[in-house]
Every structure is written in C-alpha cells, then in structure tokens.
Symmetry: C2
Subunit: 334 residues, 2 copies
C-alpha cells in the first residue's frame, strides 16, 4: 500500500510538471515560422473552432483526421521528385548486374547521365525504371535500400540531405495539429514503401499513417522463413482521384483538413471539403524563387492550375511561401 | 495569469483523479473473464516482457502492434459468417428491384430460404451475391446500410444482436493491450467496409485500424458533389497469405502479437512470429459446444487444422474456450 501511495504521488508530481510544460509551450504560440497574416490565422481559427468544447464546430478527437500530400507540400519536389533521384541512383547501382542496360532505353540514357532523355519515354519508361529498381526483393530488403539511400543522398543543387529539404512551417503545422488531438496522415502519389522508412523520424508520422502508391506483394516461405516479395505490378496509384480512394481504403473516414500543393491533390481537397461541419483545405503555392522554387500553372512537376482556380473560388487557404513563411527549411531557423 | 494558474490547478486535480482511477483499475487485475491458467498467464507474461523498461524484451510503444482476426476470434462465426447473413438479408431486401432473381441462381435459392443450396454454387455464386449486394452504391450509402442492419439483425439460433456475440475475454485482451500502449488492429477476411461502421463502438478499434477484404472504388463528381462509388470488382482478398500482405499494406510494420482461430490466420501468425525479439501468437480453439460451438479440423467455416499442428509444434498459446474462459459473451458476465 505504501508503494502504491508513493507511486501515486510521483505520478501526480510528474503530471503536474507535464501540465506546467504544456502551459509554457502554449505561451510561445503555435506556428513560429509563419508570418502573421491570413494564412497562419486561418489554420489557428480552424483548429480553435473544432477543438473548443461546446463550439458549434466541435469535432471529437477520433474524427480529427488531417491529410498531407508529401512532394511539394511537406518537402521539395524540384527539379524533380525525390523518388526519381532514388530511381536514377538505383539504376546506376544495379547497372553492373544488367550489362544489357547499356543499349536499352530508358536505362541507357540514365547511365549516360541524361535523365531528361530517359524520361522522354513517358509513363511507360518511368514505370519500367520503377519496376526494375523497386521490385524483385523482399519488403525488408527494400526498406534497407531506402534507409541507406535517404541517409546519404544529397540534393543536386542545394547539397542537402533530402530529409533536410522538408518545410519547417509545415513541420510546425503537423506538430500543432497533433498537439490538438489530430491524427496526421500522409497521402502521397509517391511510393508508400519509399516513404515509410523515414516519415516517423522526419515528420513524426508512423508507417501506419502513410498512404501512397504501391506495387503488389506476395507472401512466400523461403526455407521456412516468411517473406513478402515485391512484384513488378502496380497495386495502387495514389494520385488525383486515387487520393480519396486511398484515404477511404486506409483511413476509412473522411478527413476534416487537407493540405496539398498541386492539381494531383485537388480531389483529396474536394473530398475533404464535401463533408459536413467545419472543414479546412490549404494549398502551398510555390512562389519563392529565392529561397525555394517558383512554379504553378505551367510546371510539369507539381502543376497547380485547376486547383488554384478552385481554391480562389472556394476561399481555401493559399499559402505564399514567399510572404507567409519566415523560414523554408529547418536549418535556416533563427 | 490568474486564469492560467487556476486552469493548471484544475488540470493537476483531474490528472491526479485519473492516476488514482488507473491504480484502482489495475488492482482488480487484467483479464477478469479468464480462468487462471497457462493461456491467461502467457498473455500477461508477454505483455510484462515487452513493456517493462530495461527488460531485454522491451518494445517501444510505437512498435507495440497487435493484430486480431475477427470472425471466430473476436465474435462468433457459426453456423455461418455474420457477413453471409447480411448478404442473405440484402438479397431479400433487394429482390423487389430484381424480379429476374426468382429464376436465377444463386438468388432463387436464397429467396426460397435455402441458403445451403445457394452456396453450393461455390466461390462464384458467393461472389455474385456479394457483388449484387455490396456494390453499385456510394461508400456512404453502404455505410448506412450496414449500420441499419447491424443495429437490428439477430442471430438465428441465439436471438442476440450480432454485436452481442463478441467474446468478452477477447474484449478484455484488447483493452489490456491498449492500456499497455498497444495499437490494436483487426485483420480479417471479412469486408473492410462491413466492419468499420461498428468496430469502434464494439471493440474500441477505429476505422483506420481495420484491415479487410475490399472491392474497388472510384472517385466521381455527382452534380458537383464528390462521391466514391463501390465497383463490382474485387480489390483485395485479405485471407491466408493475403493477411501479411494486408498488414504490410495498411500498417507498414510487423506486429509483435497476433490472434486468430483458423488456418486462414496461419500466415499472419507466421509473419508475426518471424520478427526479432519477443513475439506472441495465440489461437482461439472452439471446443465449447455448450456455450458456443465446437469445431476445428473438419469444419467448413473456420477450419483449424494446419494451424493447430503448427501452434502445438511451436508452443503458441492455444485457448480452450471451454476451460480458459469464465464467460463467453458479454451479457453472461457475473
């Protein structure tokens, strides 16, 4: 009995300290890397509406689901998607085992260092390279390959690790939402198994809250040891109309907040907006050529055209990276 | 400042009450509907090993993933799967819109009340009925249909609601694991959208932690309103080797504990057992003809044959419903 009482007192003391810490943290204010303005205020107003008990917009904790696109929304996607750099590096790494690639497109172009020429083959060429580099191994082997690459590969123009090219203001949005009872999910056109090995340490998003494109896998026993083998067949394309499909398949309820940056996210935002009650949709607009990149309606990567029109028409939040963000990448933080 | 201080004091008081409540609850001991014995002890020993800080088997909270089969593991599956009763009731409900069913198998047999004859058509007949009753509507419409049915439909021999035919001892395992930092998932051969409308209220398992079989869905705009339409095409069969595939697809990490009752769960248990560190695999063995049903190696539904051999060979926990469970269904609770 004595032990239980002293344990209780310890628990109470610890919880009291926790409550105090929370109060202090809150005093500093959320979203410190955001400039004061409409965009920042819209996020805070939304969160206050859905979390204030008794508010007409109140949403119970289990229904506080927020979904985030990854490429261009949580990290940079120029001059091309990070996963494409991974494909290129894997083609080079695997080339010694594939002497035939020297004379076979799109591989030959990649090995000559001409990625643009390789991608001229369109969707078919891309999928051929993805399947050659992403399948044939077990899920565990692929995870190790991704972990090894993401720990060392550097962005060609900034020389940073790719995980250093995440957006500090968006990390703060993720943390702010979670501190307010939200479950945060990634819903990306990128490969689900390409993201999972690092999303927990980088974004605080665990593997089970990552939705993405995937290949089929097959259960097999290899010398009695169960493995999942990655097959060269597309299982799911998590982009455009695929995003609401993926959300329904993985999450099974409609998000109340959605964050994207391109037309590929539009259906996810529409799906989110169409639910009852208070809803929040946000587009990150890449308009900061000095600190990041500036692109929208004409871009091949991360095109934002129809989405921008719809955001303006419906009053969704459009974030100007240039004006709304004090800093872009974490290491610039003051 | 005054407000913050009094809010803090209130928080401290509430947290202290919470700590006290937790202490009381713990004093009663976990798994009260389990008889003392090897099965109950194996669950408790496992949980203590993976949760005790400094223990060689310690597992950090985010990796405490436990997966549960549904039919026959969390609720009854005799004389046939609950979802099959749903199919039968839906065929009857939809019959007025399908006059042709009167002369068309397998529907004609169902409408005559001969489900056994309908199922004699095998997998093809079953899938025909599933597609006729589970697709063509939006995801939201289907959710409402399931909610309406599960709230009222009664089991033919017990007269209970199906949600009253869940296993009290397994509800306690779910709660015990969650109280120890586990995330609990359902991984069922049943339809994912057939389970999600009620798993949160019945099992405390939210939709995003339900993995199951599914049909394909398609995003569409109907008069400007986004919908997901359920298509008559199988998307995923979450049984046997499909269970580890579904676990990898949805959860993205290997569970450390798995609970099943049939050969359809064997690959899930093998996949769970094959990870490093402390692992826990459990089979519920239906050997209680008086309070539930008794079946195993010869049963068409929930056959447990290879799984029972492997469980015995590998020392997995095999639960005797008859000997290990004080009560089976919640309302018998003393």
């Amino acid at each position: 009995m004595k032990t239980i009482r002293s344990q209780q007192l310890l628990t109470i003391a610890l919880l009291a300290m926790l409550a105090f810490t929370i109060t202090i943290a809150h005093a500093a204010g959320p979203l410190p890397s955001w400039n004061d303005g409409k965009a920042k205020q819209s996020i805070i107003t939304f969160v206050e509406k859905v979390t204030r008990p008794g508010s007409p917009g109140f949403v119970p904790v289990p229904e506080r689901i927020a979904v985030f696109d990854n490429d261009g929304t949580l990290w940079a996607e120029q001059p091309m998607y990070v996963q494409l750099f991974f494909v290129v590096d894997r083609v080079k790494a695997l080339a010694p085992q594939h002497p035939e690639w020297k004379d076979k497109e799109p591989f030959a172009s990649v090995l000559r260092g001409d990625v643009k020429a390789a991608l001229a083959g369109g969707e078919r060429a891309l999928m051929e390279m993805v399947m050659a580099t992403h399948t044939g191994m077990t899920t565990e082997e692929f995870e190790q390959i991704v972990k090894g690459w993401i720990a060392t590969a550097k962005h060609p123009s900034t020389g940073r690790l790719y995980t250093g090219m995440v957006y500090q203001p968006m990390l703060e949005v993720l943390a702010y939402l979670r501190a307010n009872g939200f479950k945060t999910f990634i819903v990306s056109g990128g490969g689900i198994e390409f993201m999972r090995p690092w999303t927990e340490s980088v974004y605080g998003i665990p593997p089970e809250q990552v939705v993405g494109s995937s290949v089929k896998t097959k259960f097999d026993l290899r010398e009695g040891k169960p493995v999942l083998v990655r097959l060269p067949e597309l299982n799911f394309n998590d982009d455009h109309g695929g995003k609401p499909v993926g959300i329904n398949q993985h999450i099974g309820r409609r998000p109340i907040a959605a964050f994207g940056n391109s037309d590929g996210d539009l259906q996810m935002l529409q799906w989110t907006a169409a639910g009852p009650g208070v809803r929040f949709c946000l587009y990150v607009h890449h308009d900061d050529a000095a600190r990041e990149w500036a692109y929208d309606r004409q871009s091949q990567i991360g095109r934002l055209d129809k989405g921008l029109d719809e955001a303006n028409a419906r009053g969704w939040t459009v974030v100007s990276m240039k004006n709304d963000w004090k800093t872009v990448f974490p290491s610039e933080k003051k």
